[in-house]
Amino acid sequence: MKQLTAATRARYFRRQLVDRIMGGLCIAAAGLGLVLLGMILWMLFSNGIAGFSLAVFTESMAQPGAGGGLANAIVGSLIQVGLGAMIGAPIGMMVGVYLSEVGKESKFAQVVRFVNDILLSAPSVLIGLFVYQIAVEPLGGFSGLAGALALAIIAMPIVARTTEDILRLVPQAYRDGAVALGSRENEVVRKVVLPAAFGGILTGVLLAVARIAGETAPLLFTSLGNTNWSTDLTQPMASLPIAIYRYAGSPYQEWVNLAWTGAMLITVGVLVLNILSRFSHAAVAGKQGG
């Protein structure tokens, strides 16, 4: 074997050293990230559990010193998020089906795809301001319905994107088979493509629900928040994120504690939805692999 010169050996050593240092820095970055995020979650749960009690679920928001809970905010959030998903998800699915099955690479479909991607990351505060202008001001006041509408606009592009992505994974042979059996275009989509992609579409809907459940800014302009129990969609409606926002900035310790508890509840809900969505995605991926 040829003898390595000193210069070669030195260069080899230097290359190894650079690799080690950079690798070490990356490990440090990962460690730092995990520690920071772990600290946030730890603060959230230790403070959240401290203010946790049954009253959080059974009582509405009350004056400082009068106890109270978050029941009205929890129910308000469920109503607005549920309604928002019921409006936004079907439209999003149709957009996804359009992009994957009908529009494909046509000029218009490309525009829709691009615009959808922009909407996906548009600042949610502006969507709130937009809904305020079209649905709050003209209709005479803040309402739960306006809140649901704002959330629907946020949910729609998420569902559209995931639906398109998952429909593209459905094998072309499924569609060909259906056509060969005499199915019409709408039957191919409704009876073959959509059922095959059901789990994946469900993933998209769950992710959209998780996203809108934590949205605060758009609700400031639309459903405003309400300290009383109200399920009237035409009136201002409480929601967990708004309750957290108002309580966290208050000077009363018991309100601050409730804000932490509310933040913990939302975070747990969002994380559970995300984990569920993974299962539904894994189920569909498994089916297609097998």
Partner: protein, 322 residues
């Protein structure tokens, strides 16, 4: 048989069924709705903000004074706050996020890759108000107690830096642009790490194998082969992160200090467009200049975000096509 259905000629006896026509029309309407929503947001913001643009002209964008009492509104302080916090956040979050992504794809033991990857994605889903609360109750006190006095003491010895903007000569009250940028950085960190990891994973294994076969180290394979191959997408991920930071409201509103004036230090209380809109909205009556100003600000933010996100998408798509 890979011709898509839509492009296949219909066989003689098969006519387009009425149900297919309705089906197609309704799908086209849904697609058009997406475009309509985006255009209406732009239009509504512009029409609503027109009064502000008419009153102040271009001075609305360049004006440095913000005074609700005299009804003089200039957006420059909010625009400055938005850009400084977002760019600073990106400068902090991107190197760390990239490190995490490289760690997850090349360094991390096989067994830990999936759980750590999932953990990062879950953290990206935590609502921004949680980050805002943490910043308000934990980070801001920590900044005022330790970090800001320390920074001031260090930089006071470097007069050109210590005295001028950027820099670290504000009373240590905890809230301000630096704290907001840190919170934004922590918030977008999992997002940047997750998108960058996906980009790195999209590099063809063959390219990497080639680099290793030539005797490259992991770092050389990354800088010499992987990064050149996916450069566009990497920038796309950065711009996506920037888009998030620009429009973020709840993580910022708790810790920015909400002072709408030209900042004289990176530690000084300031405001971003999103925080001004959220904070001033309760006092803005419909039909007044106050509300028009907020809508005008919204229009500016929307145009800026649109530009940033459009660049991100174009960069990310390029790679997807090739």
């Amino acid at each position: 048989m890979n011709t898509p259905i839509a492009e296949r000629p219909l066989l003689g006896s098969r006519k387009i069924h009425a149900a297919d026509t309705t089906f197609r029309i309704s799908l086209h309407v849904a697609g058009a709705l997406v475009v309509v929503v985006l255009l209406s947001i732009l239009a509504i913001m512009f029409i609503g903000g027109k009064l502000a643009f008419d009153t102040f002209g271009l001075g609305f964008i360049w004006g440095t004074e913000w005074n609700p009492v005299t009804q003089v509104y200039g957006a420059l302080p909010a625009i400055t706050g938005t850009l400084v916090t977002a760019v600073l956040a990106l400068c902090i979050a991107w190197p760390i996020g990239f490190g995490i992504a490289f760690f997850l794809t090349e360094i991390c033991p096989e067994k830990l890759r999936t759980p750590l990857g999932v953990a990062i994605e879950l953290l990206a889903a935590v609502p921004s108000i949680v980050y805002g609360m943490w910043g308000f109750f934990v980070l801001a006190p920590f900044m005022s107690e330790y970090v800001q006095p320390w920074l001031t003491n260090v930089f006071i010895w470097i007069p050109p830096i210590g005295d001028s903007f950027f820099w670290f000569t504000a009373p240590p009250i905890g809230v301000g642009m630096l704290t907001a940028a840190l919170i934004l950085a922590i918030m977008i960190l999992p997002f940047i790490a997750a998108t960058t990891r996906d980009v790195l994973l999209s590099t063809p294994q063959l390219l990497k194998d080639g680099a290793y076969a030539m005797g490259a180290t992991r770092w050389e394979a990354l800088t010499g082969v992987v990064i050149p191959a996916v450069r566009g997408s990497l920038f796309g991920a950065v711009f996506l992160g920037l888009g998030r930071a620009l429009g973020e409201t709840m993580a910022v509103v708790f810790v920015i200090g909400n002072a709408i004036r030209m900042p004289d230090s990176v530690m000084a209380p300031s405001a971003t467009i999103a925080s001004v809109v959220a904070n001033s909205f309760p006092e803005a009556e419909p039909g007044t200049l106050d509300l028009a100003v907020l809508l005008g600000l919204g229009f500016i933010l929307f145009v800026v975000s649109f530009g940033v996100l459009a660049v991100a998408r174009v960069l990310l798509r390029q790679e997807r096509m090739s």
